[in-house]
Point group: C2
Chain length 136, copies 2
DNA sequence: TAATAAGATTGTAATCATTACATGTTTGTA
DNA sequence: TACAAACATGTAATGATTACAATCTTATTA
């Protein structure tokens, strides 16, 4: 079940993170735009409503939300980071043609190999590339 | 079985890629340094032997080798790309403490979900993070 | 062999996402 | 209101990567 805006506000309060206007708007944007947006997209998307919002604030907020475990940074071969409201672990598929990043569910834990038995795994990423049905 | 330097030279010839001195040295470096080096590391590692080698040539060569399917770029949350002599698909584990990137074998194909049945998958990446046994 | 052209290499300058930092603003508390 | 802590902002710096133009190598041809 995807957390609501209110759920997330509660989580932030629980972690003693101030609910500033900018932070709430950035969170709201992430909830409403589940396309794994870039900082640039968040900036452009909020500009009409908060003309003074600075990119630095967006970077700061995303770092704080990531440290709190509410947001996850997606790394692709592009240089621009993309952000995902963290829900359960899931895989990402990027279409090389249209650039869309799709979510897919995957049971990662079932394939963790013995090679890693003595490692502490803190983060798991699955990232595929190719062509989406629309672009085929 | 890991390909030898000679194997790779044959593959390059087969693909009509010139075997310049610099390209062969960069390849040799990648074969002998299987630590997923950065461009900076390759540059520093070859500097004594080829003082005139430029980073542009390293970037160009890595791109050509990647297009030929002989080298794979590893993307991490760091901004510096790292390079791997492409063998079979395998997973990567980065230790957050010492920075080492470990290889591990994983049967990715066994977990490709139905979600992606209508997608064409061209590239698969598995990237874990955490702590290695040495750093525990 | 000399002339030529294509391909490789090099160094410098530009690009662009991200971060550092100093300044200004808001918020909560007494 | 007065004060301090936390936030937000804008500008400047950073650093990996790319663009580009000039130079060097190599192979081919006359
Ligand atoms: Mn996602
Ligand atoms: Mn590897
Ligand atoms: Zn597509
Ligand atoms: Zn380690």
């Amino acid at each position: 079940m995807k957390p609501t805006f209110e759920d997330i506000k509660q989580q932030l309060k629980a972690k003693n993170i101030s609910l500033s206007y900018q932070r709430l708007k950035i969170l709201e944007y992430l909830i409403e735009n589940r396309c794994h947006p870039t900082v640039e997209m968040i900036f452009a998307g909020l500009h009409d409503e908060i003309p003074t919002l600075s990119k630095t604030t967006i970077y700061n907020t995303l770092r704080i939300l990531e440290e709190a475990g509410l947001v996850k940074e997606i790394t692709t071969e592009d240089k621009e980071a993309r952000y995902d409201i963290a829900t359960e672990t899931h895989g990402h598929f990027k279409c090389e043609s249209c650039g869309t990043i799709f979510d897919f569910s995957v049971d990662i834990d079932s394939i963790i190999p013995g090679d890693l038995s003595r490692f502490v795994i803190k983060d798991k990423n699955i990232y595929f590339k190719g062509l989406c049905p629309r672009c085929l």
